[in-house]
């Protein structure tokens, strides 16, 4: 990526931050809610620990840490899925989309710039969650955090295409459609967020094999909770990479198709 494009993403990020920061109370309340939200999580996790502990196996022994990592990864799904369609939909409603699309900025740079703030804010929340979680006794393998960050990035990349497809729906039909909600719900139920996938009934367990989150979360927990190396989780990471590559190609193709359709139909910035 060239310096000019980094500068463009930076400018969009700065504008989003200044805009969000102008709602000061909302920003402070969001952080307080995040911190306070961990407390019941800690007590519930400790209460369930004796029952679920044995089924965690190679994904950490402590259910509180297991749950915290699941919630952190799941927390990235929301922005990955909704940042682009949210920016497009908001841009159509406000008229900013037309203004942005009239600039010489390349489309992928524009999309990255418009989604950057949401993703960075989620990253900041993650750091806060990890810190507060550690203070409550969550056991992390600190050496595995860099690998964990890389895996988290892959999880985001594997889910971004669903956001692109949803944004394509917004461009073409003015609604994001049910895709995002479907992916979120299925990932929460079958992706191993709240419990290991092996406790899911066998007849539906196979579905989890098609979810990027299953592989991402397993690799993430093994690195940040068990201290496994990237080589040790290579098979899961490889599958995640392939899924991300294929889905990104499909996502960009669908988005570009919808963009061309909207430009032909004259509905690009039509509210």
């Amino acid at each position: 990526m060239r310096y000019r494009e980094m500068r463009e993403i930076g400018a969009l990020l700065r504008a989003s931050w200044l805009s969000a920061a102008s709602y000061r109370l909302q920003t402070v309340l969001g952080i307080v809610a995040l911190v306070v939200g961990i407390i019941p999580l800690y007590f519930v996790a400790n209460a369930i620990q004796p029952t679920i502990g044995p089924s965690l196996e190679t994904q950490g022994d402590q259910y509180f840490s297991f749950l915290l990592v699941g919630i952190i990864a799941y927390g990235f799904l929301g922005p990955a899925l909704s940042a682009v369609p949210g920016a497009i939909g908001g841009g159509i409603r406000s008229g900013t989309l037309e203004a942005y699309f009239s600039t010489p900025v390349r489309l992928p740079v524009l999309l990255a710039g418009l989604s950057a703030y949401t993703l960075l804010w989620t990253l900041l929340r993650t750091v806060l969650l990890v810190a507060v979680g550690a203070a409550f006794g969550a056991e992390f393998s600190w050496g595995g955090l860099p690998s964990g960050a890389l895996i988290l990035m892959l999880i985001v990349l594997a889910h971004l295409p669903f956001g692109l497809i949803s944004a394509a729906f917004v461009l073409a039909f003015r609604t994001g459609g049910p895709l995002n909600r479907g992916v979120m719900a299925v990932s929460a139920l079958l992706g191993g967020v709240y419990y290991p996938t092996k406790v899911i009934p066998s007849w539906i367990q196979e579905v989890s094999a098609f979810l990027p989150l299953t592989y991402g979360l397993r690799a993430l927990r093994r690195t940040v909770l068990e201290g496994w190396s990237m080589t040790a989780v290579a098979s899961d990471v490889l599958i995640l990479c392939v899924m991300a590559a294929v889905l990104l190609a499909i996502g960009f193709w669908v988005f570009n198709y919808a963009l061309a359709y909207a430009k032909r139909a004259g509905t690009l910035a039509q509210y």
Partner: protein
């Protein structure tokens, strides 16, 4: 005041060494599908009814020219602007900006041309005016060392220097319009598209803005300006040439004086005591007069009747002689000076009568 020249790419030359027109539009067509009612959608789900938005539109705009687009609502002005801004794809025909095709070289076109997006909501309301300009300065690739000075200059130009640090949400509508204009000028575009730029400005502000557009943007910076307006006086004051667009087609094009001369020469006002005299009808039936219309103007019992001649000025003498021979009392017979607004109305209501120079 703006200083320095445009930082956009220089205009490419044509194959013959001539400078390409700033805007070149040839046989441009665009149609949109009409939105169907639920009943139609169920009965004929795959049938589409198309509505023409632009029909075989062709014209060139020279570099540095101030060109006006006039026409009623729904004439196709906005569609044309959006095609030039690469926000809508044309169905057929060619649209080039300094020789660059708006479809094949959309990114280059966007670096040469900037539309003024009229929607106030397109500004970031939670940011200050200065922050809004800084954002678009980066997106339009204004060099970093120049950015701060450029933002300050533009705030000064549009009269927002004292309120540059104020949140845009607290601005009046007129202030936001001025900021939209400043935003579009941030990149020093070679072509500027303006859609009703003075509609939210007070009369003094509008006059100052027109002066700025003509003096600084067009003359000093050499920027080509395409102005869509309902305000015919504004078009007269600013534009070198105008085109009248109606139902997606160009009805007339030329300098304002050309159009006024072409369309205004044949309208005469007859002051008579017999506005309903059958001689008027006879001249109309014989095709000597194209149109006879009574006006509400009455002076000392003399009524004004506007007549449109089918022929040249010589015909006027013939008509006057005929009216007098027929016993019609005529106190005055004078050529009527039509305003540009009247001319446009004529263009729109009687398109067949309108000559074109392009």
């Amino acid at each position: 005041m703006i200083s320095g020249l445009s930082n956009a790419a220089p205009a490419p030359a044509t194959g013959h060494g001539e400078v390409a027109p700033a805007i070149s539009i040839s046989k441009l067509d665009k149609e949109f599908a009409r939105q169907k009612r639920w009943k139609e959608l169920v009965r004929h789900p795959f049938q589409r009814e198309m509505i023409p938005a632009l029909q075989s539109v062709s014209f060139d705009v020279a570099p540095g020219e101030f060109f006006g687009l006039l026409g009623p609502n729904g004439a196709g002005k906005t569609t044309l602007f959006k095609i030039l801004s690469t926000l809508i794809l044309p169905d057929s025909g060619s649209v080039r900006v300094f020789g660059h095709d708006v479809v094949a070289a959309a990114a280059t076109v966007r670096s040469l041309l900037t539309p003024v997006i009229a929607s106030e909501r397109s500004l970031a309301w939670r940011l200050s005016a200065e922050e809004n300009l800084r954002l678009y300065a980066v997106l339009h690739r204004v060099p970093a060392p120049e950015l701060r000075r450029r933002v300050a200059e533009l705030l000064q130009i549009v009269g927002l220097a004292d309120t540059g640090d104020k949140m845009v949400g607290m601005f009046s509508s007129g202030m936001r319009q001025r900021l939209l204009i400043a935003r579009s000028l941030i990149a020093r575009p070679q072509v500027l598209l303006l859609d009703e730029p003075t509609r939210s400005l007070d009369p003094v502000g509008a006059r100052e803005f027109r002066r700025f557009l003509r003096g600084d943007v067009a003359v000093r910076q050499g920027c080509t300006v395409l102005l869509a307006t309902h305000n015919t006086e504004e078009a007269l004051e600013l534009c070198d040439r105008v085109a009248v667009l109606d139902h997606g087609a160009i009805r007339a094009i030329g300098t304002t004086q050309q159009i006024a001369r072409q369309l205004g020469d044949d309208v005469y006002r007859v002051w008579t005591r017999d506005p309903a005299h059958r001689s008027f009808q006879r001249l109309e039936l014989d095709g000597i007069l194209q149109k006879v219309s009574s006006t509400p103007h009455v002076e000392d019992g003399w009524t004004a009747v506007d007549v449109t001649l089918a022929g040249s000025a010589d015909e006027a003498a013939h008509v006057l002689a005929f009216l007098i021979e027929s016993g019609v009392s005529v106190s005055r017979f004078e050529r009527r000076e039509l305003s540009l607004a009247d001319l446009i109305e004529r263009v729109v209501t009687a398109p067949n009568a309108i000559p074109r120079d392009a």
